[in-house]
């Protein structure tokens, strides 16, 4: 049984840091077209902000903000976004994952369609990586119990 951490410094600093970390993750994702970065890195940083929330406050509060059911939805949604972006050009006489053909349905030329096609699939990668990291973390920490089973534990720590 672990005593609940009540550290005002950690809480205050992480309250300031979490929005900055999330902004930085979107910077890494958006700027990945120009500098090192992209979906995997941005997703990991975004997941780190949620994990910092769970470590600095408690896992119950973090699970209230990011429910496991929603994490499961996002895990599938990211891969779906990637594969769907790949399938759409098939119906526009292109090959699988040939984003240049997206220019037929978007108001872009084919070069910029490839540019934004890459942005869309990187977003899908980011969503999946973020949701998987958060989901694995919260499942390991809570030993797979979900929110309803934890309601009778009022101190916010998960012990048997």
């Amino acid at each position: 049984m672990v005593k609940e951490p009540d550290d005002v410094i950690v809480r205050t600093v992480s309250r300031f840091m979490i929005p900055i970390i999330q902004l930085f993750s979107f910077y890494v994702y958006v700027h990945g077209h120009i500098s090192p970065g992209g979906g995997f890195q941005g997703g990991c940083i975004l997941a780190a902000s949620f994990i910092l929330m769970a470590v600095a406050f408690n896992i119950k509060e973090a699970n209230k903000l990011f429910k496991k059911r929603i994490a499961l939805f996002f895990i599938g949604f990211g891969v779906f976004l990637y594969a769907f972006t790949g399938v759409v050009p098939l119906f526009l006489q292109g090959n699988f994952l040939d984003y240049g053909y997206l220019s037929k349905i978007l108001p872009l030329n084919s070069v910029m369609a490839r540019y934004y096609g890459m942005a869309i699939i990187e977003l899908g990668v980011q969503i999946t990586v973020m949701a998987v990291m958060v989901s694995i973390f919260s499942d390991l920490v809570t030993a797979g119990r979900n929110e309803e089973m934890l309601k009778d534990n009022e101190d916010g720590n998960y012990h048997r």
């Binding site: 077209h33 994952l97 890459m118 990187e122 998987v132 390991l140």
Partner: protein, 88 residues
């Protein structure tokens, strides 16, 4: 046994081409095409991003599928339903 294989690896590593040689086979096949035409074909200044997400899109798609599978397997193994009987 380990010593023999280690010696073989070290001996064979001596014959490698110089690191970063622009004329070695790995650098003259498709790499120059990507480096020269990435900007005009995809509009992305970063060659790494264009190769990762566009030219080698299959690779990244199934990389993402591996992450997806890892998450799903952890959920199947660990997550439990409310009654504590069935496994999620």
């Amino acid at each position: 046994m380990i010593t023999i294989f280690g010696t073989l690896l070290v001996v064979s590593a001596v014959d490698f081409k110089p690191w970063g040689d622009p004329l070695q086979p790995a650098s003259v096949h498709v790499s120059p095409r990507y480096i020269e035409r990435t900007l005009e074909e995809t509009g992305v200044p970063n060659v790494v991003t264009s190769v990762l997400a566009d030219y080698r899109g299959y690779d990244t798609l199934f990389e993402t599928s591996v992450i997806f599978t890892a998450g799903i397997v952890v959920i199947i193994l660990l997550r439990r339903q409310t009654d504590g009987k069935g496994t999620g």
